[in-house]
């Protein structure tokens, strides 16, 4: 039976085009790949190639014809041994076949006639996003010794413990090895694990982030340190497009067990390019987990969890918090669940929601508020994605009032997201609109007085809390 050549579509949205030119004439021999015609739209031209070997038996649409519908047979190719007499006989079925192989979404008419192609389900309603339950923090046995250490030390211990446990874990980044870390977080790791596993990189964020992702796709478990998250903007394509999306785009085949970590947020007096909070940026991305601890214990337990997690994790530390000391339980294997917030201080009048550096403002504000008779409940989110909405909502149902605290900018910020979730899930429990305390919408200024103004303050948190309490 002669083979039909159909009017092709140049793009999924094209419905018709012009048959500009026939490059072969009836009776010409053609072989697979030969250009036989040229078609065009207002945007592009395309060459129609013969798909089969044979003779161009008949041209059905002459050159110069405008607005030829996609999938219309435009010519017939005769196979070896067939002759022109076969053309007539095959004609009715030609039309039918065109309809059958028509694209699923092109027009309702062809769709109805096309049993071979499954009906597109695009009109279906999206299913509900599945809910995930996160385990509570592990119990710390009574009598466990508590060790006071800085967050810097806690992070180092977390990496060292995981590197001892799993030889696939390695650390790479600028100055992580011989220099012992730009902020001394990797202190001593080179000495213990050697230069095969503690690797100084050139200053090539985009390159080494991508190299880390490649190593993770191959099954290793890299910890990629960014000297600060400000510089990771050069690598953000690899973090989002390669690390976060590959599992999905591979239908679940290619996991990417990697941790990207480093100091985030405002440092002191370094101005706009070195002082920025990326909480909102990364917590926007499906496929990433985002952690931002405020205490040494949380930093340790969550970094260990992040290293073990089979997904890409963005671990946002804070330069100012590195030096803060707090108690860490002395346990052989202290791992905390990712995705679980913590009530850092219980209260009944207003809920303050913060993470990382924001917690220092929130806790001090709660202290001051207590002096004025307002009992604030302070939630430390610890993980930004997945966000523990349950803990937030339970608290707001109790207090009826909420204030979010973040160093980042308000627009499209994490506070905005929290406010939206409270509005969606606890609207009837609210006694006042949710208030946001955030960084001012300016690049970070250098001058000491302006920098202070650009950042949230304890006073602003106190003021916002009082305002939602109508006091």
């Amino acid at each position: 039976m002669p083979t039909e050549v159909l009017m092709p579509a140049l793009s999924p949205t094209m419905e018709k085009g012009n048959l500009a030119k026939w490059l072969k004439k009836e009776g010409d021999a053609v072989k697979s790949g030969d250009v036989i015609a040229e078609i065009e739209t207002d945007k592009a031209t395309m060459e129609v190639e013969a798909a089969d070997e044979g003779t161009l038996g008949k041209i059905l649409v002459p050159e110069g014809t405008a607005d030829v519908a996609v999938n219309t047979p435009i010519a017939l190719i005769l196979a070896e041994g067939e002759d022109k007499s076969e053309i007539k006989a095959s004609k009715p079925s030609a039309q039918q076949k065109a309809a059958e192989s028509a694209p699923p979404a092109k027009s309702e008419k062809t769709e109805a006639k096309a049993p071979a192609t499954p009906v597109p389900k695009s009109q279906e309603k999206a299913p509900e996003a599945p809910e995930t339950k996160v385990a509570a923090d592990p119990d710390i046995p009574a009598g466990t010794e508590m060790v006071t250490m800085t967050m810097r030390e806690a992070l180092r211990d977390a990496m060292a413990e995981e590197m001892r446990r799993d030889k696939d874990v390695f650390v790479m980044g600028e100055e992580v090895a011989e220099y012992q870390g730009a902020y001394k977080v990797t202190q001593g790791l080179l000495q213990e694990f050697g230069d095969k596993r503690v690797i100084d990189t050139p200053i090539t964020e985009h390159g080494f982030a991508g190299l880390g992702v490649g190593a993770a796709l191959a099954g290793l478990k890299p910890i990629v340190e960014f000297m600060t998250w400000n510089f990771a903007m050069q690598a953000i394509d690899q973090i989002i497009n390669s690390a976060a999306k590959t599992l999905y785009m591979s239908g679940g085949q290619m996991g990417c067990p990697i941790v990207f970590r480093g100091p985030n947020g405002a440092a002191a007096r370094v101005a706009a390019q070195h002082s920025q909070d990326y909480s909102a940026w990364y917590s926007h991305i499906p496929g990433l987990k985002v952690i931002a601890p405020s205490t040494a214990a949380d930093a340790k337990g969550l970094l260990k969890a992040a290293i073990r997690d089979p997904n890409p994790v963005v671990f946002l530390e804070n330069e100012i918090l590195y030096g803060h000391s707090s108690e860490v339980p002395k346990l052989d294997d202290f791992v905390l669940p990712i995705g679980k917030a913590k009530i850092a201080r219980a209260g009944s009048d207003v809920t303050l929601i913060a993470w990382s550096m924001g917690m220092t403002y929130a806790l001090k504000a709660a202290e001051e508020l207590a002096g004025e008779g307002i009992e604030a409940e302070v939630i430390d989110l610890r993980t930004l994605k997945p966000m523990d909405t349950e803990t937030i909502i339970a608290s707001v149902k109790k207090t009826g009032r909420a204030v979010t605290v973040e160093e980042g900018w308000a627009q499209s910020g994490v506070g905005a997201e929290i406010a939206a979730r409270i509005m969606e899930q606890a609207f009837d429990y609210l006694d006042a609109p949710v208030a946001r305390v955030s960084g001012k919408e300016v690049p970070m200024p250098y001058a000491a007085n302006l920098e202070k103004l650009a950042l949230p303050s304890v006073a602003e948190v106190v003021e916002a809390a009082k305002a939602v309490c109508y006091k």
Partner: protein, 340 residues
């Protein structure tokens, strides 16, 4: 890594000795069949795109078949392959199933990515194929990371990273070159120079048009190869692989090749003449040349080649049939595979 402290690499690969070695009968016939499979697969994909069964971008590999087929012949079990979006040929060459590839092109359940990746994003851990990447140049650090993993594990596998002449101008390529040589990673970089990046010719985009020289300042050896001759590709691939497996670091092969079709399916085609395309097609087609050699050396008769053609055609037709009738993914798949 320990090797970073070694003095820079000053060894140069030996100059090619005389003409390209001929293939054995089995090699010629295997390479012919594989190149033809890719060609027919791509032609079919083009037709299915034209029928609206394939959506979005669809970049065909027609004309460049000898590059991936020759390179695959230089690889061994456990080696890894990674490339950009013009990836169908690489997948077929690594031995991925044509049905699964075609069903991914049509966005169906049994596509390699369950229909969630499409033409540009497919993977097969089993076959060592690491994608399938849509961001020009992004596969280069990733491929370097695959080589890093081989080095870290101390095996003697290599990674083969393919990218285009356009991608060769991306900064991350040079960040990768530097690390690969610094740490002596077993990475072969294949620059598929098909003369154009979309509508921009190499001469309009590259200050140094001999792309094999792009590794010079990193001390990475580079060689230009006739990418239309599968034997030349295999020979160059063997040398590069030997170099990498010996722990001497990365190697660059610039494959001089050509794409016959437009960049994607929709292409204004105003940046080159039809004569230019026709000239390559009639004088340097990798498949025609292989066919000619086979007949000349009497490795197969016309009839035996016809039989191969028919086999290939039916394999491709089955793939197309499968990909047309396979159902779309279940809507429950919307939320799977985001996290493990």
């Amino acid at each position: 890594m320990a090797v970073a402290k070694k003095s820079p690499n000053t060894e140069e690969p030996a100059a090619p000795e005389g003409p390209i070695a001929d293939f054995s009968k089995a090699q010629e016939l295997d390479a012919y069949r594989m190149m033809l499979t890719i060609r027919r697969f791509e032609e079919k994909a083009g037709q299915m795109y034209g029928m609206g069964l394939i959506g979005g971008f669809c970049h065909l590999y027609i004309g460049q078949e000898a590059v991936v087929v020759g390179m695959q012949m230089a690889m061994k079990e456990g080696d890894q392959v990674i490339t950009g979006y013009r990836d169908h040929g690489h997948m077929i060459a690594t031995g991925m199933d044509a049905k699964g590839v075609m069903a991914e092109l049509t966005g169906r359940t049994h596509g390699y990515s369950k229909g969630k990746g499409g033409s540009m994003h497919m993977f097969s851990k089993e076959k060592g194929f690491y994608g399938g990447h849509g961001i020009v140049g992004a596969q280069v650090p990733l491929g370097t990371g695959l080589a890093f993993a081989n080095r870290y594990r101390g095996n003697d596998n290599i990674s083969v990273t393919y990218f285009g002449d356009g991608a060769a101008n991306q900064g991350q390529v040079y960040e990768s070159f530097n690390m690969a040589e610094l740490w002596k990673l077993p990475a072969i970089y294949i620059i598929e120079n098909n003369r154009y990046a979309m509508g921009t010719s190499v001469t309009r985009a590259s200050a140094e048009t001999n792309l094999s020289r792009r590794g010079l300042s990193f001390n990475i050896p580079g060689v230009q190869v006739d990418g239309m001759d599968v034997r030349a590709v295999k020979a160059a691939g063997d040398k590069a692989a030997e170099w990498c497996r010996a722990g001497k670091g990365p190697f660059i092969l610039e494959m001089l090749t050509y794409r016959y079709r437009g960049h994607s399916m929709s292409d204004p085609a105003k940046y080159r003449t039809r004569e230019e395309v026709e000239k390559v097609r009639t004088m340097h087609d990798p498949i025609d040349m292989a066919r000619h050699r086979i007949l000349e050396r009497k490795f197969a008769s016309e009839d035996e080649l016809k039989k191969i053609d028919a086999d290939v055609r039916s394999l491709v037709n089955e793939a197309a049939e499968f990909a047309t009738n396979d159902p779309e993914p279940d809507t429950a798949e919307l939320y799977t595979d985001i996290y493990r």
